[in-house]
């Protein structure tokens, strides 16, 4: 049992717009931190710039709100230096995937043990409404009055492409599953990405309309659970099957399809092919949006490897302080 409650992690009065998805997510984060039970002083929340990057001001832990896009790099230095810190790196889609894209992919590649929160509202909110790297093609915004002419990133695809080992997704308004993926991200050793779908009530309301309400999710989302068959729908009447190189939606009981024919979720599968297909499902193609832990594969972490190598070399080499280091050089004596 954790000795903490959500209250122990709360601080200040959030200044986000009423109804902003950030409020919902913050409550889930407080709750998850309490359930995880790492002391506030051993927890660090590190963010960049943007609406969501204000979040560290509202947690009673060590925290840094840094410069635009650099949170993953700053968090990397902190984690390597003190592995006891449980680090939450909070970014928005602009901060994390545009200006901070390089640090995002390299955090994945190195597999540094960070919990990376990607609050995806598909818009730049704080600068008052420009399209972001996750805005769909044709998206009309202040900086794209005639619609964008570029394709968006899919965060999961970027994460997998950078050899990420953990990817989970939740909807900001969906409290319990959000707490669950945050706990799973903490439990996973390595870079763990949680994509949080959220609306910007001012500049991009309804962007996640299909799954933003309970009713919407009942119809349009599938909650993936390890080892469970993939079933969804208001009456749990649909399922997912593999067909050739693709997935297909089937109705259970129709055409002889039974529960046994359905795909069973395996987030621990090293091969990410099917996990990626699940992560990329969209309602416009007739698929449900995948929620929950999509990929969770164990792998060596960067911070462990860095510190283990130091210990290994300490045991191997004969010099361990500055004076002994000097002795390793060719020297001469002036008498």
């Amino acid at each position: 049992m954790s000795e903490y409650t959500a209250k122990d992690f709360k601080k200040g009065q959030p200044r986000w717009c009423p109804g902003c998805g950030d409020h919902f997510f913050l409550a889930s984060l407080h709750k998850a931190m309490a359930e995880i039970g790492v002391a506030p002083y051993n927890t660090a929340v590190i963010s960049g710039i943007g609406c969501s990057s204000r979040l560290p001001y509202y947690v009673n832990t060590y925290a840094m709100q840094t410069v635009h896009g650099r949170a993953a790099a700053i968090a990397t230095g902190a984690k390597v230096t003190n592995q006891n810190l449980s680090i939450w790196q909070v970014s928005g889609d602009g901060d994390g995937l545009a200006i901070g894209g390089n640090h995002f992919i390299h955090a994945m590649r190195r597999n540094i043990d960070l919990n990376i929160i990607l609050l995806n509202n598909r818009i730049y909110g704080l600068t008052k409404g420009q399209y972001s790297p996750t805005s769909p093609r044709g998206f009309v915004s202040k900086s794209s009055p005639y619609g964008t002419v570029e394709d968006p990133f899919y965060p999961a695809e970027l994460c997998f492409g950078a050899r990420g080992h953990f990817f989970a997704r939740s909807v900001a308004t969906d409290a319990t599953p959000t707490v669950e993926i945050l706990k799973a991200a903490h439990a996973h050793k390595g870079a763990a990405v949680c994509e949080i779908l959220q609306d910007c009530v001012i500049f991009n309301e309804g962007t996640h309309n299909d799954v933003y309400t309970k009713e919407g999710r009942a119809k349009n989302a599938i909650y993936l659970e390890q080892g469970k068959p993939m079933i969804f729908g208001e009456n749990k009447e649909f399922g997912l099957m593999q067909e050739g190189f693709s997935l297909k939606v089937v109705k259970i009981g129709e055409n002889g399809v039974t529960e046994k024919d359905l795909l069973v979720h395996d987030a621990h599968c090293e091969d990410n092919t099917l996990q990626l297909k699940l992560a990329l499902m969209e309602t416009k193609d007739g698929f449900p949006v995948a929620l929950g832990v999509i990929r969770d594969v164990a792998a060596p972490t960067y911070d462990d490897a860095v510190n283990e190598q130091i210990e290994e070399i300490k045991a191997k080499k004969s010099y361990h302080n500055f004076t002994e280091l000097l002795e390793t050089n060719d020297t001469w004596e002036v008498k």
Binding site: G12, A44, Q65, T76
Partner: protein
């Protein structure tokens, strides 16, 4: 061939080894300087290499040089021009001869002066000496390639490996010329190749062959040379480059402060050797992260600082451009951080392997907002140790990022360095939070004497807090846009830096009655000092004041600058330090000497220019 060999006594000599960038000229030069230092000579070295790793063999752009200055007393520079030039091929002779004194002895490998070689080096005929007006009597023309092949015929080595030993033949010849004990060189190679004794043995064989060639033929020169040693300060010494001394300064500072050393870095010439050096020393607990970019190098260091490391990032000018935003985060967060800028020629990619002092104003002012930050400039390869140690001490004790400026010249050059005793280095005492502050700590609570805030390290119980890039309230640490508070914070940050104590600037030479004060900063110390000495030898009265501490400036700066009739500020830029001093010292109107050639100053040119000023 001279009938009778003569041994001339010299008080100093400059040798320049040159060849293709793959010819191992740096190793030959290093061994020669170590051998000289071991017998008690002072040394100063400078490698001059092209940006290409391996330019086409024998081409003019692929020539790499390594200059060694040895002397019986103290030597301050690698020397203007050389007394001996080793040119391993035609291109080397073509490009490097301009660094030779008119009287210099030239050693060439005649096997690399064939038709094709001459063509690549843009000679018009076989008479390459004639084309360059070189007196053949000054040339030791030796078929080095041929001799090395013969020497190693039975070694079982392949042709490529054999050709790599040509540098050792040249080294042996130079050792003969200067009456050097080749046993010392042999020992150096045995240690260097301790795990590959066969390689050591073959190299030693070639050195001996080179030495014997000189000895047996007496070559074509009139005599050999001897450089006596004058006793330097007693103690143990080593030959150290500036980049290595910088790395050692960081290691010593971390150990003294009892902190983990963290370097976040991205490869960039000419700073990468710091990353290389520190990466080797994991047995001392040093953590190096080779980052995805320059920004991350600085950003990861800031994270490490937040988590309680002595955090550093090493780079060159273009890297500082990219790091500027993150550096400013460290300024407003008031976190300790050492930023090392090994300056190179700019702007943009500029001259990556060459040396300049053109990033001074960038270090002082190249950030948005009021962003005060200490700036220190190392004055010589060996001074890099002390300058870096001091930069780390200031960063940790004053809770601020510090920029350390070195340059390609001091970073790659080397000198004889007296090994320090870590017990005698100044203590480093960061302003850690005290138990009384527990549970009511706010990050901008300051020591009223020096305005330094107290450091709570992430992970310490009872001091949770947030730092950030937004302006904070001076008392609570909460985000604040209050006009009075911002004004106060800007003043406090400036005052904190202004209050850092730095030593007075020293004046050397004719301290009391100089007609001209020569002023410089950073890596030009040796050249300006030598120019001052030369002028005083000629009967002029000059003095030299050299600045290591740029921001804040030493307290006696105005007093020193105003004391002398004439002052010249000499720097390897278009007048950045002069402009800075003029902004800090009222009525200061110096003469200026500015050169931006990517090459170290030439002492004779300085002397001529300063004579001109003295005569005005």
């Amino acid at each position: 061939m001279a009938e009778k060999m003569e041994i001339k006594e010299l008080d100093q000599v400059v040798v320049r080894f040159s060849g293709d960038s793959g010819d191992g000229m740096q190793l030959a030069g290093n061994i020669f300087s170590t051998v000289s230092a071991t017998v008690g000579n002072d040394i100063s070295t400078f490698p001059d290499y092209p940006a290409d790793i391996r330019a086409p063999q024998g081409s003019l752009t692929g020539v790499s040089g390594f200059q060694v200055h040895i002397g019986e007393g103290k030597v301050y520079t690698p020397g203007d021009k050389c007394d001996v030039l080793v040119a391993m091929n035609a291109a080397a002779l073509k490009t490097q001869y301009r660094y030779a004194k008119p009287s210099a002895c030239i050693i060439i490998d005649t096997d690399s002066f064939c038709e094709k070689d001459l063509e690549k080096a843009a000679f018009n005929s076989n008479d390459y000496l004639g084309e360059m007006n070189i007196d053949p009597d000054r040339v030791i023309a030796c078929p080095i390639t041929h001799m090395v092949k013969e020497c190693l015929a039975d070694s079982g080595m392949d042709n490529k490996a054999i050709l790599k030993c040509r540098n050792m033949f040249a080294l042996g010849l130079v050792c003969w010329l200067f009456n050097r004990d080749i046993e010392i060189a042999a020992n150096f190679l045995k240690e260097k190749f301790v795990k590959k004794p066969a390689i050591a043995e073959n190299n030693i064989k070639v050195i001996n062959a080179g030495y014997d060639y000189g000895h047996n033929t007496h070559s074509s020169v009139a005599g050999t040379y001897k450089i006596e040693s004058k006793a330097a300060a007693k103690g143990r010494y080593m030959d150290i480059t500036g980049n290595k001394a910088t790395s050692y300064g960081l290691i010593a500072a971390a150990e003294k402060a009892g902190l983990r050393l963290f370097l976040g870095s991205y490869p960039i010439t000419p700073a990468t050797d710091i990353l290389h050096e520190l990466s080797k020393h994991k047995s001392l607990g040093v953590t190096t992260v080779q980052c995805e970019d320059e920004i991350s190098g600085c950003a990861s260091a800031i994270g490490a600082s937040f988590a309680g490391a002595l955090a550093c990032t090493s780079t060159s000018g273009p890297g500082v451009c990219l790091k500027s935003e993150a550096i400013n985060l460290a300024v407003i967060d008031e976190l300790p951080l050492v930023i090392i800028n090994v300056q190179r020629g700019g702007p943009s990619t500029g001259l990556p392997t060459k040396s300049e002092q053109t990033d001074l104003l960038q270090a002082l002012y190249g950030r948005n907002g009021e962003s005060p930050m200490p700036v220190i400039a190392a004055t010589s390869p060996t001074n890099c140790f002390e300058a870096t140690y001091t930069a780390a001490k200031i960063a940790l004790e004053h809770m601020t990022p510090v920029i350390l400026l070195t340059d390609a010249f001091v970073a790659n050059g080397s000198g004889a360095w007296k090994l320090p005793d870590i017990a005698e280095l100044p203590a480093i005492n960061p302003p850690y939070v005290t138990p009384e502050m527990k549970d009511n700590y706010t990050p901008y609570f300051r020591n009223p004497d020096n305005q330094v805030r107290y450091w709570a390290i992430a992970g310490q119980k009872g001091y949770t807090h947030i730092l950030g890039g937004l302006e904070k309230d001076n008392k609570t640490g909460a985000i604040s846009t209050d006009p009075e508070n911002h004004n106060l914070m800007c003043h406090l940050r400036a005052e904190k830096i202004a209050k850092i104590e730095v030593p007075d600037v020293e004046v050397e030479g004719c301290v009391d009655d100089a007609d001209l004060l020569i002023v410089g900063f950073g890596g030009t110390y040796g050249h300006l000092y030598s120019a001052m000495e030369e002028l005083n030898k000629k009967g002029y009265k000059t003095a030299h004041a050299h600045f290591e501490f740029i921001n804040p400036l030493p307290k006696n700066t105005a007093e020193v600058l105003n004391k002398y009739k004439k002052v010249v500020v000499a720097e390897q830029n278009l007048g950045q330090f002069a402009a800075y001093l003029r902004s800090k010292v009222d009525y200061f109107v110096p003469y200026q000497f500015n050169q931006v050639k990517g090459q170290p100053f030439v002492v004779t040119e300085l002397v001529a220019a300063f004579e001109g000023i003295l005569k005005k």
